[in-house]
């Protein structure tokens, strides 16, 4: 199990906890991560409203680099993964666009064939590593804790171009949580958007939307919220104080984790290596319950 690790801009510039926890946990499950050199931004699909070509080019360029490495791309961020999947889909269906991309890529000596395999963290952990390996690796089961899984919109939509989980009833993150010994329960707000896509247009709307979800998670008695998307994490964790102010509830406290942080805690990685210091939501009560090293 060897993958080209594509971190993406958000993870590299501010979501270090995700990168740290991925780098420390994956090798323990037999996943070898190879850093990519010369990669750029994934292209960021909203860019397409300015220039579709610029988006496709950035995206295809990164995939061309992975093709050169002969490895599947493991993109940490839901948004980056979607960008690659969408680009691959578009270029598959338009030989003209593909030819145009290759014309531009040739200037750097790169070539995009469309062979690069793309893997999402849900697919990697749930379908490739699998239940047996994960449960066998757990030395410190997260018993007595109940988490709300938040897969994030871009992990499940658009539903018709190959996303890693069911768009209406995503279950993989729930499975992954239960494999660590914790409980994951279905809740009606599970597929609610974090709001972050609206950040550029209306910051307050983002906080309102995110507040509704955090209130539901708290009301339903979860010990915390778990995600693998850096954008969602950024809203629910990093902006939690701002959310409290917006919804006018200082008591609205919900511990937020990257799944890989919980995975690390369960398989016995020390807390410092998981970037838990960088979580800004009140995670200490959960850490106390977990105990461990």
């Amino acid at each position: 199990m060897k993958y080209a690790l594509y971190l993406g801009c958000t993870v590299q510039t501010e979501q270090y906890g995700y990168e740290a926890s991925v780098r420390t946990t994956m090798p323990r499950l037999g996943v070898e991560l190879v850093d990519m050199t010369g990669v750029s931004c994934c292209g960021f699909p909203p860019f397409s409203s300015v220039s579709e070509l610029a988006w496709l080019y950035s995206s295809a360029r990164n995939m061309a680099i992975a093709e050169g490495m002969g490895l599947p791309i493991f993109a940490l961020c839901n948004g980056c993964h979607l960008s690659f999947v969408e680009t691959k889909h578009k270029l598959e269906h338009s030989p003209e666009l593909k030819a145009k991309m290759n014309e531009k890529l040739a200037r750097e000596g790169l070539r995009y064939e469309g062979k690069a395999e793309l893997i999402h963290i849900f697919e990697l952990l749930h379908d490739v590593v699998g239940k047996d390996k994960i449960t066998a690796a757990v030395s410190n089961p997260l018993e007595g804790l109940r988490f709300a899984a938040h897969p994030g919109c871009h992990a499940i939509r658009p539903s018709r171009i190959g996303r890693p989980d069911d768009p209406e009833n995503p279950k993989k993150l729930d499975d992954l949580i239960t494999w660590l010994g914790a409980e994951a329960a279905d809740y009606p707000e599970k597929i609610d958007c974090c709001g972050s896509s609206l950040a550029a247009a209306s910051g307050k709307t983002v906080l309102d939307i995110a507040g509704e979800k955090l209130k539901a998670v708290k009301r339903r008695g979860f010990d915390g919220l778990v995600t693998t998307c850096p954008f969602c994490f950024k809203v629910y964790d990093n902006k939690q104080r701002a959310i409290q102010a917006t919804v006018g509830d200082r008591e609205l406290e919900v511990p937020v984790f990257y799944y890989t942080q919980l995975l690390g805690l369960a398989i016995g990685v020390d807390q410092e290596s998981l970037g838990l210091d960088l979580n800004q939501s009140p995670i200490d009560p959960v850490l106390e319950k977990i105990g461990g090293k």
């Binding site: 069911d166 768009p167 209406e168 009833n169 279905d186 809740y187 009606p188 707000e189 339903r220």
Partner: protein, 435 residues
């Protein structure tokens, strides 16, 4: 005069058979299931008159059974057709009932004692039947049949309880399938439709949320001969539902999951079911989510107006985007845009009914091949000239009526059935050199 073959024993096939038989033409009526009646037999009431469905249908079914000019072949299918209009040679495969039709009295003692339970197709899976059973109380013919895939004697070689309890010695495990050769002048196809499976529309949670039903399931729930005797006990907890919402165009008028056409009867049957809820309990709150209300039939608009003004049924224009279930109470919340006011809103409901599309039957392709007739882009039987010859298929002497060639309501199916009977009678007469 040569007989006419009618394929399908629902309301359309029954009407066509009766019209032909009454004018002196012999009819062979071939029905796939153990009883004639079709979907109409499963309905509680009919729109826009709110007549009891089985009360209209049962006399016609019995008339079919007793009519000297009609021969009914149940549990049968047409497997071969050769020749041309005026002289079709047909092969009908009769599956064994494992019960002697000449001896069975329909007393149902056998099913009372049968130890095997299976979901009842008549109750759309909401109720159960036995391995030896009568399809429904008013089944025609009223003769028991053994489901060989469920029966302990056929699967495990044990039991034979039905044989022991049958006072008329009608049970016959040795019955074989039988091929009947017919020579007919023309053929009427009236094989009906099936329901779209809303599981494909994940956002409505059908199959995942117990209190989300299809309209046909609801029809059984609200019916006095249904599994709850007509009490609206919802599936999750048996609680009587007073707050019910209907969603229109589930699997129809869509470019994504389902079919692009209008399913024709849903606006009206939803209104009918809404009025039924109000008749049962006037304080109930009933909402119908619609895209457009299609009330083009005779008396239809007046029926909807009355549902709104007299019964207080609420109509909201908007196609819901999602249904959510409370994990504890199993109550449902519908998320939608009310497009009349341009606002995103939510509505809570005890029970949600999905008005699913009528879709081509899965066996249409098989039958089309046997009969040598065409299908349209969706899989319904095709009518090459739908304006001037709406019941003629692309093969002379073969006609179609009812929901087998597109979604139809009952009045339209009946009218088309009579039209095919007239066409078929012409062929029969011409074959004799009478016309």
């Amino acid at each position: 005069m040569k007989p006419v073959l009618v394929i399908g024993g629902g309301i359309a096939g029954i009407q066509a058979s009766l019209d032909l038989a009454d004018r002196g033409t012999k009819v062979h009526l071939v029905e796939r299931t153990p009883s004639i009646g079709g979907v109409m037999a499963q309905l509680d009431k009919t729109f826009p008159t709110m007549d009891c469905s089985i009360c209209i249908l049962a006399p016609k079914m019995i008339e079919c059974y007793r009519h000297p000019n009609i021969t009914i072949h149940t549990q049968s299918e047409v497997i071969g057709l050769e020749g041309n209009v005026g002289d079709f040679r047909i092969k009908v495969l009769e599956h064994p009932r494992s019960v002697d039709a000449t001896k069975c009295t329909g007393c149902a003692l056998c099913s009372e004692k049968c130890p095997v339970k299976k979901p009842s197709a008549f109750q759309v899976g909401l109720g159960q039947r036995k391995a030896i059973y009568l399809a429904f109380p008013q089944a025609v013919p009223l003769i028991a049949t053994i489901d060989r895939e469920a029966c302990l004697w056929f699967t495990k070689g044990v039991c034979r309880t039905c044989e022991k309890v049958c006072t008329s010695k009608a049970v016959d495990y040795e019955q074989k399938e039988n091929i009947v050769d017919l020579n007919v002048s023309s053929v009427i196809v009236a094989t009906g439709f099936e329901q779209y499976d809303p599981k494909d529309i994940g956002e409505y949670g059908y199959g995942r949320y117990k209190n989300v039903l299809t309209a046909l399931e609801f029809e059984r729930l609200v019916c006095a001969s249904g599994p709850t005797g007509g009490v609206l006990n919802r599936p999750s907890d048996g609680k009587v539902s007073h707050n019910i919402a209907f969603i229109q165009c589930v699997g129809s008028r869509t470019q994504t999951s389902g079919y692009s056409y209008c399913s024709a009867s849903c606006c009206m049957y939803a209104t009918k079911e809404a009025v039924l809820i109000k008749e049962h309990e006037p304080s109930s709150h009933v909402t119908i989510f619609y895209m457009d209300l299609k009330t083009f039939g005779k008396g239809f608009q007046g029926f909807v107006d009355r549902a709104r003004s007299h019964w207080g049924v609420e109509y909201i224009r908007g196609r819901p985007g999602e249904i959510r279930e409370d994990p504890v109470t199993k109550n449902l919340t519908i998320l939608y845009e009310n497009t009349e006011v341009g606002r995103v809103e939510r509505l809570d409901a005890d029970l949600v009914v999905l008005c699913t599309a009528a879709i081509p039957h899965r066996d249409n392709a098989k039958l089309a091949t046997v009969l040598g007739i065409g299908q349209d882009e969706y899989g319904f039987f095709a009518n090459p000239d739908p304006v001037a010859s709406p019941v003629e298929t692309d093969r002379p002497g073969i006609y179609s009526c009812g929901s087998c060639h597109g979604p139809r309501d009952i009045p339209e199916s009946v009218a088309e059935a009579s039209a095919t009977a007239a066409k078929a009678a012409e062929d029969a007469a011409r074959a004799e050199g009478v016309a």
